[in-house]
Symmetry: C2
């Protein structure tokens, strides 16, 4: 494995980790933008823009974009979160330059008015579809309630209203600022020739114009709010809890991840044995959401409305117990093994590696080998987790209930 890095004059960074033993390659653009960088007026524009990237450029029609992907045989996709938009492809090494050229071309979308109008309906349908998913609704509502006016509570999809009111001109203005070369990064992993990638990027991206971009990365102190949402047609109760965790840049992030595995992994965790295995709920999980400058612990529960308060008693007891006594050595060993095995297996494939490579660079401005992460996970102690739990306050959560009553 060899790490390479080059930055163009306009601020576009290219990073690559070469693995000559790999049979495939992966390439992607990481754009440091998402719903937290939106104002209320343009809520949902980042995600909408992600769709529009595939609608073509001055040179390529939508059909030609489809055909160009098809020719290479790439497995490709994109996603938008609260703080990042990623375009990625896994591919045979012989087509890597073709697909990289294609991504570079697409990074200057035409954003045509007629494509914009058609895609608007697709986005509205996507919003409607998600509104039907109670786990999504309860999580989004909880996030919004928890973060209040902090931009990390912004909705990724936006609302039907904000999308309806959005103009192509507003999207173009957003694009021109947020997709500036100094705010995006080209990353490559797997089997490839660094010089050729660099040459291609220099040739094709040097004309991109640098822009001032910034983001509010202030930490958020946390909130303790409560909300009930009644939906009579639902059979189950959906519960989301959110509480303060550490930012993506914090060295305790590995401890935070292990803590969630111990409390709320889908198998073998405290939630599993005390809630799911006892048939109090079908689902009870806890995740660590590491963000730029802040972070959350997020718990999601699905159970019968009758079990709702019993489940919450157990959750509160688990939070209190962990906060007072910490975790056991046995729990820590299991959580480390699960986390290490998932990490190694994910990073074994260039596509999985690309994501970690890109996210580490985006959040930390740092290259970390897989071994660096393995070592950090192995080094976490029971005391470190206890200190973390004492520093944060698991019991002071914001909670949203969504169910029949």
């Amino acid at each position: 494995m060899e790490f390479k890095k080059y930055t163009l004059d306009n601020g576009l960074t290219i990073i690559g980790e070469i693995n000559p033993a790999a049979k495939s390659s992966a390439v992607g653009f990481f754009v440091k933008t998402g719903s937290r960088d939106e104002t209320k007026e343009i809520s949902g524009v980042s995600h909408f823009l992600e769709h529009m990237i595939f609608k073509g450029t001055e040179k390529l029609s939508t059909i030609q974009v489809n055909e160009a992907f098809d020719k290479t045989g790439a497995q490709f996709n994109a996603f938008t979160s609260e703080e990042i938009t990623v375009f990625y492809a896994a591919i045979l090494p012989e087509y890597l330059l073709d697909i990289t050229s294609l991504w570079i071309e697409l990074m200057n979308p035409a954003l045509r008015d007629d494509d914009f109008d058609i895609e608007k309906n697709v986005i509205k349908e996507e919003i409607a579809m998600y509104k039907d998913q109670p786990d999504f609704v309860v999580t989004e509502t909880c996030r919004n309630l928890y973060f209040g006016k902090h931009p990390c509570g912004n909705s990724v999809l936006g609302s039907v209203k904000s999308i309806e009111n959005l103009s192509a001109g507003q999207m173009r203005a957003y694009f021109s600022e947020r997709y500036a070369p100094n705010n995006r990064m080209l990353a490559v992993a797997g089997n490839f020739e660094w010089d050729k990638i660099c040459q291609l990027a220099v040739q094709s991206c040097s004309a991109w114009q640098k822009k001032e971009t910034s983001r509010d990365t202030s930490d958020y102190p946390g909130a303790k709010k409560k909300k009930f949402l009644k939906k009579s047609r639902l059979a189950r109760q959906h519960i989301c809890l959110m509480t303060k965790a550490v930012p993506a840049q914090d060295n305790s992030r590995f401890a935070a991840h292990l803590l969630c595995s111990i409390i709320g992994d889908s198998t073998g965790s405290r939630f599993f044995w005390e809630i799911v295995d006892k048939a109090l709920a079908e689902i009870a999980t806890m995740h660590f959401g590491a963000m730029d400058g802040t972070g959350i612990f997020q718990t999601y529960i699905q159970c019968s409305p009758e079990n709702s308060s019993k489940v919450m008693d157990v959750v509160n007891n688990i939070f209190t117990d962990v906060s007072e006594k910490g975790i056991t050595e046995d729990e820590l060993v299991k959580a480390k093994n699960k986390t290490l095995s998932a990490l190694v297996i994910k990073n074994e494939l260039p596509m999985g590696r690309l994501i970690d490579l890109g996210l580490n660079w985006t959040y930390l401005n740092q290259y970390r080998t897989i071994s660096d992460d393995i070592d950090s996970i192995k080094a976490v102690t029971k005391d470190e987790i206890l200190n973390l739990v004492k520093r944060l306050s698991l019991q002071d959560f914001t909670i949203v209930y969504l169910g029949p009553g």
Copy 2:
């Protein structure tokens, strides 16, 4: 990459492909049994038995099984199809022997009456859940109608009735025949020491008793039937088409796969451009189902009830056109690139490799390297595909419609 093979006196075969460059290992048991090996009386027993494997052995309770998996950090699961039951795990190399021991232990399940009774409810809930999924219902109905009395039409899940009537004794009898060592195989891929795996298997599996097992692998001539299923609560029309293809053992299987990619891949195919892109249907895909001694082409369409006949006109036109004129060189090149890239990326990870390794051995009794498969795909010509289409008759399909009317 080095291939190894060893067969115990009782017929248990152990195969392994060693990749010293891999960071992880994968191990699994491939049991040559599924719904096609069931009689009507025990319909669903293979899938139910797959669940029961995780319920413990004479030595291990259900909880201890869970804890044993947890300790290793393995990513594990199992699946049952019409003709195979597979138990697999991806893991860090240092835990490979532990997880292999665990699988070996689980391969002799206790099949306790009380566990059986509890799990029966889980299976019935799973059946109920699938009954809510129109794509599943239409496909299962079509498969059943197409195959008639041929066992490949048997339902994997069984019915609520067959599961209700099933006894633990019947399951034990089925287990003792179908899980005989000569009907299952232990496969390992990735980074591991062959001698240690072999030694473990010899020590722990030699006492397993060989049994007579057989399977009806007669080819099926195909059928041309039609059925309408009315479900007023559905908004969309779900359509499934099934027609004869080649068996898993046939050398034309690569051509059959490429044909499906050209006609019915989810992007860039004829279905995509002529049906999905034209907004006649949301989904229109075609798959090749390669089976032991037989095979099917399966098309699935989801559209508005009004578009149903228009979509079927287009489908028929595409089938006729391909049958008369074959495909273009451009289509073949694209399909090959997509297929090769998916193949290489899947096989790059020990877990993905394990599945192909195991299935090739199960169906072909043959070790095939990734390069063998790449070469076979590259060698397919336009003429070979045209011959295949002429030999099979795409237009003579069995069809099931499921929708509001």
